[in-house]
């Protein structure tokens, strides 16, 4: 945890991040034989057949598939919020168990805390890591600026639109400086216009921070617009059926030049 804070101060010094080189090579994340079977009384659901995946540091990977094919289950297992029935999750060549601030999950509902204002929401993870107040505020301001939410520090989540809440949630996740961002249909509840803008913003943030991003969607266009790689899932039982590499040039979103 302390180490990840150290990283944080470095990434602030190079604000803007244009001189960070993608830490190419090396596996950021290895998924080895991860499977999940839910047993509830008589009903047994094979949510995920054993999955093997290797994801490089800084890679943008989209999980694509209809609902019920185990995408959320896999993300929750990677985040350590759910136990796998078998297999190992290996982050930076070390097997991990349980949650860790090196992997942060973003939800469709943003899941901002309604009792905290936006500034305090973004500081939440840093507060858990006992980062001193001044430092916390500075880091939060940096990431709120990155998601274009400067000026909304004192607003409460209910005062923000759905898109703004998602951006605040992204800032909250980035503030912890995780290696891996796990995004579970983060824009699924937004209108098409807001969604396009946020896709562009995520691409910008990704190229500025070079996080490894796992992005779940059931929208083919979104997957191709964002991913270096699109991994296609099929349901009943949940499993991976295709793994595409997308070599389109970046930035791909038309909206990109609107962003500061």
């Amino acid at each position: 945890m302390i180490q990840s804070i150290g990283n944080k101060s470095r990434s602030i010094e190079v604000a803007g991040g244009d001189n960070i080189s993608p830490s190419a090579g090396g596996n950021s994340l290895r998924i080895e034989g991860i499977s999940k079977t839910f047993v509830g009384g008589e009903r047994v659901v094979e949510a995920l057949r054993p999955v093997d995946l290797s994801i490089s540091a800084g890679e943008f990977v989209c999980f694509l598939g209809p609902s019920g094919c185990g995408k959320s289950t896999l993300l929750n297992i990677i985040a350590g919020l759910e136990a796998a029935s078998s297999g190992n999750i290996i982050v930076n060549d070390k097997p991990v168990r349980g949650t860790g601030t090196d992997r942060v999950l973003l939800f469709q509902e943003a899941a901002l805390f309604p009792w905290l204002n936006i500034q305090k929401n973004v500081e939440f993870g840093l507060r858990q890591a006992h980062v001193p107040g001044k430092k916390r505020a500075e880091i939060a301001r940096h990431y709120l600026d990155m998601v274009n939410l400067s000026g909304f520090e004192n607003s409460y989540p209910h005062q923000l639109s759905g898109g703004m809440r998602q951006r605040a949630a992204i800032a909250r996740a980035l503030a912890i400086d995780p290696d891996i961002l796990l995004m579970d249909e983060p824009f699924g509840a937004l209108d098409a216009f807001t969604r396009d803008k946020l896709q562009a913003q995520v691409e910008t943030i990704w190229s500025a921070t070079h996080k490894t991003i796992l992005f779940v969607t059931h929208n083919v266009r979104e997957a191709v617009a964002l991913g270096d790689r699109v991994i296609v899932f099929a349901p009943r039982p949940g499993r991976i059926i295709r793994d595409f590499h997308i070599d389109l040039p970046r930035p791909r979103s038309l909206e990109d030049h609107h962003l500061g």
Partner: protein
């Protein structure tokens, strides 16, 4: 979320609010007139029924000899102190019951059982254990509020949207920090329901207990009115007790509820 669509209904609401106020005012004026007419008609004996003018006289007398203000301060202080103790104990108990299955099965079931007991039923026990004393009054208040608050906290924890807990754990929140910074605040809407029920129970049983304890307080003034055959005083104190109840609800609980409903109201 656009401003115009908010400001138009707001204006509408404010005119409706004034209309309601006027109707209520008319109602209470009418009530006062009927009350005075009934008193002037002398249908009941004067020591059984006091008109509004008599009640006003009694209130003035109680105010002027200082006993009204002292009594209000004494009773409200007992309520505040006992309620504060219940609040702390209730938060701890509720958190324990809500987060541990074994504590819930055992202690939780006991709290549910004790909650079923009308809070005035604690008064005889309080008198026996503490005598006619300040501690007995406090004990009655604590027992009145404690179980409602505990069950409110417990219900709040059980109904917390799991996504808040997941998000918090994912960001490194554990143990006490998770409880105080996430679980309790997330449970606030339910906790507030328990807090509100707790205070009404505590207030009612305190008034009942004070009837038996003859140091100056609202309850003892009420009982005093009976002892001295002062029907004006009885009516006056009853009205004061009603007003205090409305004031605590309107100044503390309603604003809190409005704030919580607004902030917590949006879909997570």
């Amino acid at each position: 979320m656009a401003t115009p669509s908010i400001s138009i209904p707001k204006k509408h609401v404010s005119t409706r609010w004034i209309g309601k106020l006027i109707r209520q005012l008319l109602f209470y004026v009418l009530l006062l007139v009927i009350w005075q007419l009934l008193a002037s008609a002398h249908i009941w004996k004067d020591y059984l029924f006091a008109g509004p003018l008599t009640v006003l006289e009694s209130t003035k007398a109680l105010y002027q000899d200082g006993s009204l203000v002292t009594a209000i301060l004494v009773s409200v202080r007992r309520l505040a102190l006992g309620y504060g103790i219940s609040l702390i104990l209730g938060l701890i108990l509720g958190l324990a019951i809500g987060s541990n299955h074994y504590i819930e099965e055992t202690l939780g079931s006991l709290v549910v059982a004790l909650q079923a007991l009308p809070s005035v039923c604690w008064i005889p026990l309080a008198m026996l254990w503490f005598g006619l004393s300040e501690q007995a009054m406090l004990f009655v208040v604590v027992m009145g509020a404690l179980f409602s608050i505990t069950l409110g906290v417990d219900a709040g924890i059980k109904n917390t949207p799991p996504v808040y807990i997941k998000a918090a754990r994912n960001m490194g929140s554990r143990g006490l920090a998770l409880s105080t910074q996430v679980i309790l605040p997330a449970a606030l809407p339910s906790i507030l329901t328990g807090l509100k029920q707790g205070w009404t129970f505590a207030w009612r049983s305190l008034m009942a207990a004070e009837l038996l304890y003859n140091t100056i307080s609202l309850g003892s003034l009420l009982e005093g009115g009976r002892d001295f055959g002062d029907i004006g005083q009885i009516f006056a104190i009853m009205i004061v007790i009603i007003i205090i109840g409305i004031a605590i609800d309107g100044l503390i609980f309603q604003p809190l509820e409005r704030m919580v409903r607004r902030r917590w109201g949006f879909a997570v």
